[in-house]
Structure formats: structure tokens, C-alpha cells
Amino acid sequence: MTGDHSVVLIPVIFFTAALLVPLCRRGSRRWPYWVALVSSLLGVAASGEALWRTLSTGEAIHYHLAGWRPPMGIELIADPLSAFFCLLITVVTVFVLWHGRSLVESETPGKAVPFYSCVMLLLGGLSGILLTGDLFNLYVFLEISSIAGYALVAIGDKRAPVASFRYLILGTIGASLYLLGVGFLFMTVGSLNMGDIASVLQTRAMSPVEISALLLIVLGIGVKMALFPLHGWLVDAYTHASSTATSLIAPIGTKVAAYVLIRALFYLFDTDLVREGIPVMNALAVMGAVGMLWGGVLAMAQTDLKRMLAFSSVGHVGYIALGIGLASPLGFIAAVLHTLNHSVMKAVLFLICGSLRQKLGDNALDSMNNSLRLRMPWTMAAFTLAAISMIGLPPTAGFFSKWYLVLGSLEQGKWHWVIVIVLSSLFSVVYFFRVLERVYLRPQEGAEEEPAPARDESRPSMLAPVLILSASLLLLGLGNVMIVNHLIRPMLPAGF
């Protein structure tokens, strides 16, 4: 029985840490950092253990809080899907925190304690979302993580509070829609436990109320996921938050929302009905596809690296939505694989944004030139690799999620999605090579007079996570079959 506690341990660790961080402000200035890092590491260990266990037994781990059995008590469930997402977010967090050690201090001086506290709260909320088996409980965790997110965004540059406010308004609307949907469901089914609801919904036809509930949940989560055209909060929030905050929220925030979407569409409701009876899947695919193009086009237009990456995130959320919208095993695999890949890629890219901001003071594309490749060759190499992966060239990770997506679309004869994927890849070629060209080719102004800039690489604590993550893109690419076969296939919902 002891092992099962790892499930509950994950949120508990983070919530504890969130409290612990302010408490240790009296100690060294480094303590909040170490507390956060150690908790994240513990989180990694716990989620890893949970994942390993659920995979090796082939069964989900059910944990009943305080021993109350559902439907009365709250249930935590670690199945391969949720455990995998847990592991993902905790691992990314570890790398982001590692990278952010000095960055947080320098970018947001004196705000380390609230920052780390919010991070822990965010993680707690997100892991709660991932692990809970109860819809209302999920809402609670959603709000916790959202509030932590708003706060994190607010700890940024001058414009951050406004961006955060925007985020808050739109995020609250999203959460409310979700809550409304949950309310509708509770009305007709009489339960909040996912397993219960699923067992009811999947045995009979859905009433209009339930369909409305489904739509409200999808759209509410869509807002959180920044699904086009519900992404209005994302760009400003990512741009103006502090580097570390962005690199934390961007890779994991929207992914957890995507998880909820997957969970709701494939596990909660009747998959066949969702697939054929109502146009929600098609709507998701369309929204995803338009988002891919929209994000790509706007990313090409940006003059600020971080903003460009934010728009690219809108596009890549579209990939995930499209994968879900295909509602086929290949689409599911593509969606989950892309969640993983995109988390890592975006983490690398935003971390590099942080490193650059530390050196250059901002992320404006105009200030980048070929002195960067001399000053920070390794960072730039990592950036290049991540960019290539974003574009989707083999054998990097980004290629393979697209491959599954293309296969999935073709399998259903949906050529139009393939065209969209090709176009959006071309857009990403444009916007990434725009950066690479500057970094590698654009001469410095007045370069003749000045001596070539000396090597001025980021400190090891910032370089190492970047390098490790970007190298892992190759590994993820080459090992994608292993990931798909051993991790993602066990997640496939029963309907497939």
C-alpha cells in the first residue's frame, strides 16, 4: 500500500513546498530556490515511480484520499496518461528551475520568495489536475494553478500586470465555462467522479444538456489551452512574464489543459458519439488547423523573439488539437507525442530567451547579429537544434509528431489537414530561419572597427539544462518508437 502513496505525494509535495518557501525566507537567500528544486526533484521521483508502476502492472493506481471511497470521497488516479504528464511537467520544472537560479534573482530582484512559492503552487495545481478523478476537484486545482499562473505572469516586466490581468479575465471565463459544464453534468448524472460519469454516459445516449456540458467543458479548457481563437491571453502573458516564468508556463500550462481535453473527450464521454454524433471533433480540428496557420503567420511578423515563440505556441497547440480532433489512434499518438516534444522544444527555446535576455537585456530580434554565434556558440547551437525540431526535420523530435499527424490525416483521407501541416511547417521555416540568419549571418554594425567579440557564454547552470534538453530532442526523435510503443500505446482509450 505504501507505494500507492506516491500518487498523493506529488501534489502534497508541491503544496507543502509552496508553504515552505515563505517560511524559509529567514534563512539564506538561496533557500527558496533549493526548496523548490528539491521538491521538484521529489516530484519527478514520485511521478516516475507512479508511471513505472502503472505501466508495469498495466492498471491504473487509484488512491482514495483519507480512505473515503468514491463517489463520496475524492479519488486520485494515476494511469499511464496522467502519470506521464506528471512526469513531464515535473521534469521540465526541474530544468527550468535549474536554469533560473540566477535569472530569477537578476530579472525580478527581491521577488524570489513569491516567485518560487507561486511556482510550487502552480505545480501543485497542475499535478492535481492531472491526478484527480473528480471533475469538481479538477476545477479546484484548475483555479489554484490559474491563480498561481496569474501571479507568476504578474511578476514580470512593466507590462506584466496588464498582461496578467488579461490572462485573469479570460482564464476565469474559461474556468467558469468549465464549471458550468461540470454543473450540467452533475445535474443529469448526479456524480462528479469521472469513472462514475463515464460509466453512465457511455451506456446511454446523451441528452442535450450533456452535450452542452461537453461543449462548455471543451471550450472552457480550450481557453486554458489557448486554442485558436480562444488564445487572446497567451501572447501578452508569455511576452511580458519573466523569462523563467514563461519557460515554465509555456511548456507545461497549455499541455495540462490539453490533457484535460483528452481526458474529457476520450475517457469521460462516449467516444463514438463524440466522434460522429456531434461536430466537436471536427470543430477542434478546424480550430487547431486555423490556429496552426494563424500562429505561423503572426510569428513571422514578430519583432521580438519571445513574442514570436508565443505565437508559435498558438500554432503548436493547434497541432495537438488537430491530433485530438482526428480522434484516431494515430491522431491520439500524434497529440500526446507532440505534447511531449513541444514541451521540450519550447522549454529549450524559452530558456534560451532567458539566457539571451540576461546577456542582451531584451529579446528584440533587431538586436541580434552574428556576434551572438561567437559569444554564445553553444547556446546558439542548442537554439538551432530546437529550431530544426520545431520546423520538423528528421530525425529531431518535431518531425515525428508531424509524421504521425500526417499519417493520421491521410488514414482518414483528410488531405486538407496535410496541406495545413505543410504550410505551417513552411511558416516555421521562415520564422526560425529569420532568427538563425540574424544570429549566424547578419554582420554587427560597425563590425570593422571593433574586434571580434570574445566568447561570452551563459554560466554553466544555465547552459547545461539548455544543452541537455536540446540534445534530448534528438533522443526523443530517434527513440520515438519506443515512446509510442511503451508509453503512449498503453494510454490509448478503450474505444480505440
Binding site: 479575465i169 479570460l170 452535450i211 480562444l230 487572446g232 470543430a283 514578430q302 513574442r307
Partner: protein, 568 residues
């Protein structure tokens, strides 16, 4: 005596390579070694297929000796040797190399036993001879050489197409006599060969280019290309009646142009065509005797034509010009050359006691038996030959009037080379048996019959009389007569405009359009909103941020829309 059995062409090819590395002083003398070696080699070669080379799916026959190839091979080697003597002063490495490649190509074709091998040497000849023309002085040589080369490569392409068709038809590539039931393959081969034979209307390259080569260059050129074509025609197209007609037409056509020409090398160039016409006409007859006549005439032609070209070469060397209207009265300063030249002139005109008489008599005999009245066309051509080469050219060059040109001394090896050839002309003329010894098949023929001698004397006599009466009118003005090269030389700018300038313009226009759209696309990428409304060039995040209300509104719209859609 056994001799190594490889194609004598390799002597020349080896020589060409040697020319590349030998120092300037040794080159001209070393040059002689290779034709000499080839001459001896051919002399001792037995008959038959001697060297074959398994190449891919083909069995290439590099050395096939029969009566024809032995004779032609000897004639070519001799020509190369003597021209080598004539050009002992030449120091231009390129020209020497090209000359040996050229001769090697000719000999290679002569001994080739299959069309694949033939084609290889054929193209070597084309390129090497173009180099020889280029080595000529002035800008005219450059253009002429290029036209020459393209023309010959065109001929080569026809030949190649024919050969490929032949192989494709499953007929094998062996060089053999084609029967007159023509297939496309054979027609293409014939056309390709006729380009080299300078058959009108495919002849214009010859008078265009030969007079523009250098002193020794044109001598080299005259000896090989057309005779090689004659050789191939003998081997493959003997007895094609159309050749009889074509040859007669060719002989007469070129003679007319020769009479019009003002440049002595141009006169001789047209006479190459005319003489080849004789040979082709008799090839059309196709009997064993006719083919002997054709080949013997070819050997003689190589000898006396080279001699004639050497004569003009000395003039060019000594005076620097070859225009009849500039020349005159040089006889006293180069009597030996005049004498030797006249031997050649009599030979080409078919005077009794000179070599041309013997072979021409054979040709007339063969034509008279088979060609009916066509023989009279050849006689008319003979009149023209004597008129231009035998009288007009020497008369205005060396006699007529004093031109006052300065005559540079010319080296002794030039008349020496001429003397060797002149001796051959005389020897073959006086002792026809020596000539017949080289015929591919035994010749039983008495050229010195009354009929032949009378004809051979009366025709020139009449020509001379006519010439004498008009001698002040014939020289004329320094003008050129347009030949068929007019069509491609004058229309070249048109083709260039049509196919090069225009095509390129269209291309750059499309490129511009592409660039324009790329530019547009990039502008679009810089700020996509420009498509929708008037905004600045560059994207401005602050200007284009949708306000919160619109975002909220958008969310609600989506919710309502989707709900409606689902619950419909």
C-alpha cells in the same frame, strides 16, 4: 615479317601526346617520326580483322585491313609525313598536336571495322580540325572555326543517330556495304558522311573555313576530312545510283564557284569539293573497277591537292596575301615553286603523263559505261578545273602583271616537300602500273589510249584558247560569291534573337515576377494585417492587440456557435 597488330592511328595519337611534352626545338622533327612509323607499319600490315577490343556489349574492331583501307592509310600517312616536312618551321605546339590528332582520327576511321570505332575517330577528327582552323590568323578564323565545328558536330550527330538506329535495328555495327533499299538509319549515316564529304548543300563549311586557316593548316585540312568521307562512302554506299547524280552535280557546282573565287586558297577549296564530286559520282557506279577508280583518284587527289595547297602556302608565307587581285608577277622570284605547282595543276587537270590523267581516265571510263551522258558533266567540270587551277590561278598569281609585293624568303623544306609530291604525280602518271599496284583489286586498264589522250589534250587546249581571249576580263574585282553559308551566317542574328535573347528575356521576366511576389510575400510576412487594413509596414504589437472585450466576445461567440451547431 610480323608487325604489331594495332591500329596505326595510335602512332599519331602517341605523337599527339608526345607533342604536348616535347620541347619546341625537337617537336617539328619529332613530328615526322609518327607518320613515318605509320607508313611503314601500314606497309607491312597483313589483310584482315587484326585488332578487336571487347567493349561493353560491342566487339570493337580497331584494325581491319583491306585493299581500300591500306591504300587510304598509306596516302594519309604519306600526306601527313610530307606536310610535316613542309611545316618544319612551325613551332605552335597546339597546332602540331591538333594536326596529329587530326591525322590520327582519319587513319583511325580508315582502319575502323565498326561504326562505334568509326564514330569515335570521326569526332576526334572534327574537333582537332576545328583547332587547326582556329590556329589561323585573325578574327575571321575564330568565327569560321566555330561554324565549322558546329557543322561537323551536326554531321556527327546525324551519324550518331544513324548508328544508334542501326544498332537498335539489330543489324550490328560492322562497317559493311549497305544495299540501296534505304532505311532511316542508313540515310542518317549517309547524311552524316556527306557532311564531311562537303556535298552541296552540306558543303558550305569547307570554302568558309579552309581559306581562313594558317599556312600549313589549310594544307592539312585539305588532305583528310573529305577523303575520309570518300573512303566511308566507298565502303558503305558503293553502287547507290543517286551518288552518281549527286557527284556530278557537286563537281560542276563547285567548279563554277572556283571560277568566281578571287582567293587562291578559296579556288583550291572549291576544287576539293569538285574533285570529291568525281569520286562520289564513280562510287555511285559501284563496280569493282569504279571503286578502284574512286580510290585511286582519291590517292592522287591527296597528293596533287596537297601539292597545290603547298604552292599557295608558299605564296601566303612569302607575300602574306592570297587574293588574286593583289598578286601577280611573282614567277621570277619563286620559279621552282611555280614549276612544282604546275606539275600539280597538270595533274589535277588530267594532263597525260601526270597522275590525275590515269585516275580520271578510269573515272570517265567507268562513268561512260554506266552513267550515259553524265560523263559530259564531268568533262565540263574538268574544263572548269583546268580553267581555274591550271590557268587562272597560276597566271594571275605568278605572271600577268607586276604586283610589286615584297617577297620574303621561304625555307627550303617547303619546295622539298612539294618536290616529293610532284615526283609522285609524275611517277604515277608515267608509269600507271605503280599506281594500279595500290588499287584494292587488280586493274586491267590502259589509260594511254588514243581516245583518252585526245580528250585530255583537246579540252585544255580549248579552255586555254578561250581563257586567252578573255584574260583581261576574267580577273574581275575583289569580290566574293555568296554560297549557302549565307543562310546560316546571315540568319544567325535572327536565331540568336529568337532562341537566346528572347528565351532569356522571358526567363528573366518570369524571374522578376517571382521576385516580385517573393517580395510581396515577405512584406506580408512582416505584417500580415496589411492585407486587411491600412497599418504600418512593420508589425506593432501594441497597435494590433485586440482589446479584452473582443476577446471575451469571441469566446462567447464560439461557445454559442458551437452549441447551436451541436444541438441543431
Amino acid at each position: 615479317m610480323t608487325v604489331p597488330e594495332f591500329s596505326p592511328a595510335f602512332w599519331f595519337l602517341a605523337g599527339a601526346v608526345a607533342m604536348l611534352v616535347l620541347p619546341a626545338r625537337a617537336r617539328a622533327s619529332a613530328f615526322l617520326l609518327f607518320p613515318l612509323a605509320s607508313l611503314i607499319h601500314i606497309w607491312f600490315l597483313p589483310t584482315g580483322v587484326l585488332q578487336a577490343y571487347a567493349y561493353l556489349d560491342h566487339e570493337l574492331i580497331l584494325l581491319r585491313v583491306d585493299g581500300f583501307s591500306r591504300g587510304f592509310g598509306l596516302a594519309f600517312s604519306l600526306a601527313a609525313l610530307v606536310i610535316g616536312i613542309f611545316s618544319l618551321r612551325v613551332t605552335d605546339r597546339l597546332q602540331q598536336t591538333a594536326a596529329l590528332f587530326y591525322a590520327g582520327g582519319s587513319i583511325g576511321v580508315t582502319f575502323a571495322g565498326d561504326f562505334f570505332t568509326l564514330l569515335i575517330f570521326w569526332e576526334v577528327m572534327a574537333v582537332a580540325s576545328a583547332m587547326i582552323i582556329w590556329a589561323g590568323p585573325g578574327r575571321a578564323a575564330a568565327g569560321a572555326g566555330l561554324r565549322y565545328l558546329i557543322f561537323h558536330l551536326f554531321g556527327g550527330a546525324l551519324l550518331l543517330a544513324g548508328i544508334v538506329l542501326l544498332w537498335h535495328g539489330g543489324g550490328g555495327l560492322e562497317i559493311r556495304r549497305f544495299d540501296a533499299a534505304a532505311s532511316p538509319a542508313v540515310i542518317l549515316i549517309l547524311l552524316g558522311v556527306l557532311v564531311n564529304a562537303a556535298m552541296p548543300p552540306l558543303h558550305a563549311w569547307l570554302p568558309d573555313s579552309y581559306p581562313k586557316a594558317g599556312v600549313t593548316g589549310s594544307i592539312f585540312l585539305n588532305a583528310f576530312t573529305t577523303k575520309v568521307a570518300v573512303y566511308v562512302l566507298i565502303q558503305c554506299f558503293a553502287g547507290w545510283e543517286i551518288l552518281m547524280w549527286a557527284g556530278c552535280f557537286m563537281a560542276l557546282y563547285a567548279v563554277c564557284y572556283a571560277v568566281m573565287a578571287n582567293d587562291i586558297r578559296l579556288i583550291l577549296s572549291y576544287h576539293i569539293i569538285s574533285q570529291v564530286g568525281y569520286m562520289i559520282a564513280v562510287i555511285g557506279v559501284g563496280t569493282e573497277f569504279a571503286l578502284s577508280a574512286a580510290s585511286l583518284h582519291a590517292y592522287n587527289n591527296i597528293i596533287y591537292k596537297t601539292l597545290l595547297f603547298m604552292g599557295t602556302g608558299v605564296v601566303l608565307h612569302a607575300v602574306g596575301t592570297t587574293r588574286l587581285t593583289d598578286l601577280g608577277g611573282l614567277a621570277r622570284r619563286m620559279p621552282l615553286v611555280v614549276a612544282l605547282y604546275m606539275i600539280g595543276a597538270f595533274a589535277i587537270s588530267g594532263f597525260p603523263l601526270f597522275s590525275g590523267f590515269v585516275s580520271k581516265a578510269m573515272i570517265l571510263e567507268a562513268m561512260g559505261e554506266n552513267g550515259g551522258w553524265l560523263v559530259h558533266v564531268l568533262l565540263l567540270a574538268a574544263v572548269g578545273t583546268f580553267l581555274s587551277v591550271g590557268i587562272k590561278l597560276p597566271y594571275y598569281t605568278w605572271f600577268y602583271r607586276e604586283s610589286g609585293l615584297e617577297v620574303k624568303p621561304y625555307p627550303a623544306h617547303m619546295p622539298l616537300a612539294m618536290a616529293i609530291l610532284a615526283a609522285a604525280c609524275l611517277a604515277f602518271g608515267m608509269v600507271p602500273g605503280w599506281l594500279f599496284a595500290w588499287a584494292p583489286s587488280a586493274v586491267e586498264f590502259q589509260p594511254y589510249s588514243v581516245y583518252q589522250v585526245v580528250e585530255a589534250l583537246q579540252l585544255p587546249l580549248a579552255t586555254f584558247v578561250a581563257f586567252w581571249f578573255f584574260r583581261h576580263k576574267i580577273l574581275g574585282e575583289p569580290k566574293i560569291a555568296l554560297d549557302l553559308d549565307w543562310f546560316y551566317r546571315k540568319s544567325a542574328p535572327l536565331w540568336e534573337t529568337l532562341f537566346i535573347t528572347r528565351v532569356n528575356r522571358v526567363f528573366s521576366a518570369t524571374q522578376d515576377i517571382l521576385d516580385h511576389w517573393t517580395e510581396k510575400a515577405f512584406a506580408f510576412a512582416r505584417n500580415p494585417a496589411r492585407l486587411l487594413r491600412e497599418v504600418p509596414d512593420r508589425f506593432d504589437a501594441n497597435l494590433q492587440r485586440a482589446d479584452l472585450g473582443s476577446n471575451v466576445g469571441l469566446i462567447l461567440v464560439v461557445v454559442v456557435l458551437l452549441t447551436l451547431l451541436s444541438l441543431w
